[in-house]
Amino acid sequence: MKYLLSNPQPGERVVMILRRFWFTALWIVLTAVILFLLPVGVYALLLNFSPSLLDDSLITPALAMTACLYYLAVWLFAFTDFVDYYLDTWIITTGRIINVEQHGLFRRTASELNLSSIQDATSEISGPLQTFFKYGNVFVQTAAERERFHLKDIPHAEEVKETIMHLSEEDRMREQRGGKT
């Protein structure tokens, strides 16, 4: 996938574009499917235990309206969750890491850090799902007292961590060489 950097530095090239692993989206879809099926179960229960409720000329329309409202709400929240998942992107270039994150509907964060300032990178793969599907979190820490970068649910977390550390070392050496000349 091609990605145009908004303010490219001289000689900078994109090494990786990372997005959250597709399994995260699958959870959103599965949750929505389960929530969509829930009223069917409630309807079956009512049909068995209180059929008179479904014949009532006042309660039935109210129940139908509640069901419509419920389905629309589930659809909307599932989509909002999906957009949140879909718009989280991390771009690793030869000089920096760009972090673009969507938090809910009204908050969006875009930040970047220079690879040469990275002190430590940690990959974390926890739980059977992450181990089986080989995805996880990568935390990038700089010397500055700022919040560390958190690359969430990215595929091949360990390889990404190694790549970041390798690029960081290269960037640091490049800066040193540049300083000497």
Partner: protein
């Protein structure tokens, strides 16, 4: 005895619809503006719009047949509530064992 049309229960539904449209527009704006220009993005938008139209159409078809002009009076409402017993075990007809082939 006070009486109000059943249509009043639709007021929260319409308020929710307004919120639904506002949130949907924000979501679509974020997706179009910040999402990568790939076929996947347009597929997601198409699925969401199609799903929304299906749900709205389904809601209309579900709610339209009811008589929303029907008045709700306090006595009718109370009567309908007292008739409901969610914890009542239904009286199912006894199975006729002689006709049942599956009986041992």
């Amino acid at each position: 005895m006070t009486s109000i049309p059943l249509a009043v229960v639709l007021i929260p539904f319409f308020l929710f619809l307004i919120l639904f449209f506002i949130f949907s527009i924000f979501n679509l704006f974020h997706l179009i503006h910040y999402g990568p220009s790939t076929a996947g993005k347009f597929a997601v938008i198409a699925v969401y719009v199609a799903g929304t139209l299906t749900l709205l159409g389904g809601s209309y078809l579900t709610l339209a047949p009811y008589d929303w002009e029907r008045p709700i009076t306090s006595t009718v409402f109370l009567k309908s509530v007292t008739d409901v017993n969610l914890f009542e075990i239904p009286n199912l007809p006894a199975r006729d064992l002689e006709d049942d082939d599956t009986a041992l």
